[in-house]
């Protein structure tokens, strides 16, 4: 019988299995064990969201709590990756990238190229991302386009527990620096997840829903939302194909092009801000490479060009909703406008 796991537990299992398989895998971050130096229980937190809870007892010595110095410990993870370890560093919220970005984008991302191919930096940087937690402007961002822009990084943002396990295992085994973004509002969602270890290759989108009328290209939290929109649209007689990119860099454009060739209509859905986004990236690629297949304008459904607001009333409007996604799709169903 199939076993279900939450995305949170899938991450825990992936880390557990990889640490068990390879003693050079070390996990470090703020309170990822918890209680270090404190008088109470050890394993007191397992990370701010409890994702790494319980691992320290299975792999003592492979998990390390860090001080609140992201440049130092993320940089240390990167340096250690060039010295024989395979570190998985947790950045509690991706919003904190601003205090440690240099180590990620000028160091880890560029070593191999700058050093003429003579470096390998097998580091994974895990971070939570996304809105919907009432966590306001500095704890709710996607920032996926920023990492995707940077050559030398691989960028992963899974939409479900099954993919999460397989992609995290791949990330740890991969020899390039990987930014692994976990949407906090997906943490508790469950899917079937096999117990055995498995890796999902990078650069392979998955077709979350097959359809023939319109192609939605998206990732992360917007995958379930797009699926929800598709159900609504189905009742209106619109048959939507939903492509889950899974990895943003590398990106699987072939799957996108194939789908658009069939449907002729494209809606790019992105929880990130709109300018220079994943949505615009995909829309532009199609306008360049698959223009001839398009029956009409592409649509983009994204967050507005604004920080994430705190108030539930505003945050609910901020996040692209299944309704707004459905509207985007309906918009593309008009005939070619020219």
């Amino acid at each position: 019988m199939a076993r279900t796991l939450s995305m949170k537990d899938a991450i825990n299992e992936a880390l557990d299995q990889e640490m068990g398989r390879d003693p050079t895998v070390v996990v470090l971050g703020e309170d990822i064990v918890g209680g270090t130096g404190s008088p109470g229980e050890d394993d007191a937190w397992g990370g701010a969201m409890g994702v790494t809870k319980g691992l320290i007892h299975k792999h003592p010595g492979q998990l390390i709590d860090t001080p609140l110095s992201e440049s130092a410990y993320i940089g240390a993870a990167i340096g250690a990756a060039t010295c024989g370890l395979r570190p998985v560093a947790e950045l509690m919220f991706v919003d904190f990238m601003g205090v440690c970005l240099d180590q990620i984008f000028n160091q880890a991302a560029k070593f191999r190229y700058m050093f003429g191919g003579k470096a390998e930096t097998p580091v994974v940087i895990r971070a939570t991302c996304g809105a919907g937690f009432r966590a306001a402007a500095q704890h709710s961002q996607m920032l996926t386009p920023i990492f995707t822009h940077i050559p030398g990084l691989k960028v992963v943002c899974p939409s479900n527990a099954y993919d999460t396990k397989g992609l995290l295992i791949q990330s740890i085994r991969d020899n390039d620096p990987v930014i692994f973004l976990e949407h906090k509002n997906l943490y508790d969602r469950e899917t079937d997840v096999p117990e055995e270890s498995y890796a999902i290759p990078f650069g392979e989108a998955s077709i979350a829903r097959e359809g023939t009328d319109v192609t939605i290209v998206t990732y992360g939290m917007m995958v379930p939302y797009s699926l929800e929109a598709s159900e609504t649209l189905k009742r209106e007689g619109i048959d939507v194909e939903v492509i889950d990119l899974r990895t943003l860099s590398p990106i699987d454009l072939d799957t996108v092009f194939e789908s658009v060739e069939m449907t002729g209509r494209l809606v790019c859905v992105d929880e990130a801000n709109p300018r220079c986004s994943i949505a615009s990236d995909v829309a532009a690629a199609v306008a360049q490479e698959a223009f001839g297949s398009l029956k009409g304008p592409v649509a983009m459904v994204t967050a507005p060009h604004a920080p994430v607001p705190f108030s539930s009333a505003l945050e609910d409007l901020y996040i692209p909703s299944p309704e707004r996604i459905a509207d985007g799709v309906r918009q593309t169903m008009g005939e070619r406008s020219s």
Binding site: G37, F96, V99, A135, P309, F310, S311
Partner: protein, 326 residues
């Protein structure tokens, strides 16, 4: 009547009112949070009141503070409107930030409060800017940045200490050392034995005080603030203190020793210590404090009711105020 304290009777009562207001605000939030009515991350300042108030008693509106994720106490001590704060925490249109900021971003520049901050250590560079502005504009304002023991290891804080020292800025670096960063002990995370040593490494004087003792904080803060105002440059002030609740609301606190919270409440409650002293000295009477207590209770009750009843922001607000001009 003999007043052995460095504040007048009125000063003492003002300080008490502020500390009591913070305590009441936080205790009520703790209860309300448990009902599920309050969203997001809420970090309570209860137990730490003597530090914020002891320092802020020396400040005027043209003095600036840069606060932390645990900012409610700093806001109240600096004079931010309590009702606007409460409404903000409830995400309402009448909030201090029109509902857009929430607990972690309450600000009121008109009162010199440059914002709570969701990014550890981020206030330190900003307050250097406040100090620089005071210098260039030629007024005697000072800037105070608060950060915890955990945040004291952020590069921004450390860089700013050096910057403030070489520019001789009127800035105070206040370490609110409550012993924990989330669940992690300060003993593990901070390498030096003393923050005074760390200050010395950046060429500035440092003082450590018992942050549960309002008077100790008040006096030390008075000294470093006076020096800064007079052009004597920055200082570091470490306040050793107690956080009564978890890191944020919802924290099970298993990293604490058994009985730790109870012992703290009993022996190290800064508010009890303060009232004990002023009552014992006979400078104020129990009845006076009781009046303040009931006024404060009413204020917080009002603030809560007001916040609950207030309207949510309208949809149009979603995209306003991203820029001053578009």
């Amino acid at each position: 009547m003999n007043n052995p304290f460095p504040l007048s009777r009125e000063g003492l009562l003002t300080a008490y009112r502020r500390m009591r207001t913070i305590r009441e605000f936080e205790e009520r939030l703790h209860v309300e949070f448990a009902t599920g009515d309050i969203a997001g991350f809420v970090h309570l300042y209860a137990g730490e009141e003597a530090a914020g108030v002891g320092i802020m008693m020396h400040l005027e509106d043209h003095d600036r503070i840069a606060s932390t994720h645990r900012g409610h106490g700093h806001c109240i001590a600096k004079g931010v409107d309590v009702k606007a704060m409460m409404a903000e925490i409830y995400g309402k249109a009448t909030g201090a930030c029109a509902g857009k900021g929430g607990s972690m971003h309450i600000a009121d520049l008109s009162r010199g409060m440059m914002g709570a901050n969701g990014i550890l250590g981020a206030g330190a560079p900003l307050i250097c800017g406040a100090g620089l502005a005071a210098q260039k504009l030629g007024h005697d304002g000072v800037g105070i940045t608060f950060f915890g023991d955990g945040a004291s290891n952020q590069g921004t804080v450390l860089e700013s200490m050096n910057l403030a020292a070489i520019w001789n800025l009127p800035v105070i670096f206040v370490v609110e050392n409550n012993g924990y960063a989330e669940s992690t002990s300060v003993d593990y995370a901070v390498a030096s034995d003393s923050y005074v040593d760390r200050a010395a490494g950046f060429g500035m004087p440092g003082i450590t005080v018992d942050g549960t003792d309002f008077f100790a904080v008040y006096e030390a803060a008075g000294e470093v603030i006076r020096r800064a105002r007079e052009g004597g440059g920055p200082s570091l002030l470490e306040c050793k203190m107690i956080r009564f609740y978890g890191h944020f609301e919802g924290d099970a606190q298993t990293y604490r020793a058994p009985g730790e919270n109870e012992a703290n409440r009993q022996h190290r409650d800064c508010l009890k210590i303060f009232t004990g002293k002023i009552l014992e000295a006979g400078v104020v009477e129990t009845g006076e404090l009781a009046v303040i207590d009931s006024e404060v209770a009413d204020l917080i009750e009002d603030a809560l009711e007001g916040a609950k009843a207030a309207p949510l922001p309208s949809a149009a607000e979603l995209t306003t105020d991203v820029y001053v001009t578009y």
